[in-house]
Symmetry: C2
Subunit: 357 residues, 2 copies
């Protein structure tokens, strides 16, 4: 574990070393905002644990971490024998798929790693591993580029002086770099557009308070932290003109799974006439499912709610419901900001047109 003071710049996830014998380094997001700690993962169980326990989280960042995790897995039975590498990669990707069920980027990235290996089936072991590292780096680099493109497209939506409400963290910490929903904020801010973000703290794990507020404070962007149950009130007071959130999986019709509470925010935005946008790369779309009812929703440990931050805050014996995500129906979504452009209105046809253009 590498513990350090908070650096001027940071990378959410990165590969250390120039070859497939390197390792994965990531910011342990469970320690933010009070401690900036990076951890190194050099075996697959460590990567799996980091994803499972949300040391790394955010659909695109999970995809990148899993891709590097696949490289680590592929070499785990030796670097010379092609057959061993094939078996080891298969085991690793199968295992990593079990870390979290909702974010589709995890499966998308691991599919790419499997396909990359299949495309070099005739290579020798070291060349195979090199090809896998190239693919993982490509997923990483593409994610960075996609985030910048999302920022460019989305910044056109932001008018000077607007209040932008966001839920959970869809920032640089949720991606390889720069974010999705926050990419729009960053890009607008970099253009000089004055704005203020209202960050839902996002119970139970407070990604909004811990991560979104941290990213915005670091960049000097005005941010007001609120409890999730205050979103309706700040909308009623006219403080919010735009809602932008990230996504963990988007169905063919635009139904969007995102952090629990997003669906409620979408309903509140509708009630107050505030446009509600989702920002996500094309890798977040799952065109194999017709609508949101097919998206599996992860249920998490009740103790995240009853013992959230080192203290018991509910009585022994209470039942708890703790879904990690909810699904916002497409008809509550004004538009989806992707790296290929803004999908608006949100429906099968418009999604198809933008994604395959």
């Amino acid at each position: 574990m590498t513990e350090s003071n908070e650096p001027a710049t940071y990378r959410t996830v990165r590969w250390v070393g120039d070859s497939a014998t390197g390792w994965l380094r990531l910011i342990d997001q469970t320690r933010l905002p009070t401690e900036f700690v990076e951890i190194d993962c050099s075996d697959v169980p460590a990567v799996w644990e980091a994803i499972k326990t949300l040391r790394i989280r955010g659909a695109p960042a999970i995809g990148v971490a899993a891709a590097y995790g696949a490289v680590i897995g592929a070499r785990s039975q030796g670097t010379d024998d092609a057959a061993s590498i094939r078996r080891a990669l298969c085991l690793a990707t199968s295992y990593l798929r079990t870390s979290r069920p909702t974010a589709v980027n995890l499966f998308w990235a691991l599919d790419r790693m499997d396909a990359a290996l299949a495309s070099v089936d005739h290579f020798d072991g070291p060349a195979m591993l090199d090809r896998l590292l190239v693919e993982a780096r490509k997923i990483d680099d593409e994610d960075r580029a996609m985030c910048r493109a999302i920022g460019r497209h989305g910044a056109l939506l932001v008018e000077p002086g607007q209040g932008i409400l966001t839920h959970c963290n869809a920032g640089g910490l949720a991606t390889a770099d720069y974010g999705t929903a926050l990419a729009v904020v960053f890009a607008a801010h970099e253009k000089g557009t004055p704005l203020r973000v209202f960050a839902d703290e996002t119970r139970p794990l407070l990604q909004g308070a811990r991560l979104t507020a941290w990213e915005l404070v670091r960049r000097g962007i005005p941010v007001t932290l609120i409890c999730d149950n205050m979103a309706a009130q700040v909308m009623k007071e006219g403080k919010v003109q735009l809602v932008i959130v990230g996504a963990d999986r988007i169905a063919s019709n635009g139904d969007t799974a995102n952090k629990i509470g997003t669906y409620g925010v979408a309903l509140l935005a509708k009630a107050h006439g505030v446009p509600f946008y989702v920002a996500a790369p094309s890798s977040t779309f799952d065109l194999s499912i017709p609508d949101g009812s097919a998206i599996p929703i992860e249920q998490r440990d009740p103790r995240e709610i009853t013992h959230g931050f080192g203290r018991q805050t509910a009585p022994d014996g209470v039942e708890v419901y703790n879904p990690a995500f909810d699904v916002t129906p497409a008809d509550l979504i004004t538009g989806i900001i992707t790296e290929k452009g803004i999908i608006r209105p949100v429906n099968n046809l418009a999604i198809h047109e933008v994604l395959v253009s």
Copy 2:
């Protein structure tokens, strides 16, 4: 301070002793659910502090505590001289009025104490104090009776098998005994109506997790604890057929101030076609104001949000918005359950008819 194991029965607030020389004992609700601790208040600053810091909270309970606090204040300059008692009561009630701005029951109870003294202006000192204690006990006893009546009226709304969502704590801990919103639940449960409560944890101070869940678990009533941002999802899943919340102040037209987040819950209930009821005694109505825009909203310490669980969960330097209450417009309220009956629909005329009947 009296620390004890959790008793079989408890009283939120009570007068210890048979005369005006007694003192106020109350459960320190900031220590629940993990510690059951009662504290004794024998001077006005202690009562003020207990209200300000939410050791005692809930509009009706605040009223009862303030009434006993007025007795303590009245005797503080001596128990013989009528003029001293008059001055001391005036000082005490003026000071106690500054403890919290939103709950109208505080002002209502202190007005009653002032009026009680005015009605015995010719009494000697000890008799004056006796009269004040009688008035405070009356406010206490009336509150108990009102809660039971609210339970009786409200229980008629509950169908077998329903899920009832509540926000914050409007239970026995928010009143002298038995509660308002939870009185409906308790009364229905005592009649044998099967039901399940969904308790919003209610950030920032988690009264739902700490207090509502505690009261329900103690009574063996099925309760599922959720984070505030999960309310929309449990409604979408068809788990909730009724919402009942308490109130801190209700304007002439029915606009209702209650714990922050209530307004959002009302909007979500409307979106899902779920009836939304307020339960409150008539002392919670403030007929001096036409609508909710005249209700002052208390702003509380940002650290309740940034350092809520004994740990810092937001970065240094972040701005915070922390209103303690919001106002739910009358048109989102299906009915108001009072000790005099159910006001439905909610408007000036119906309120007038029920309250003055």
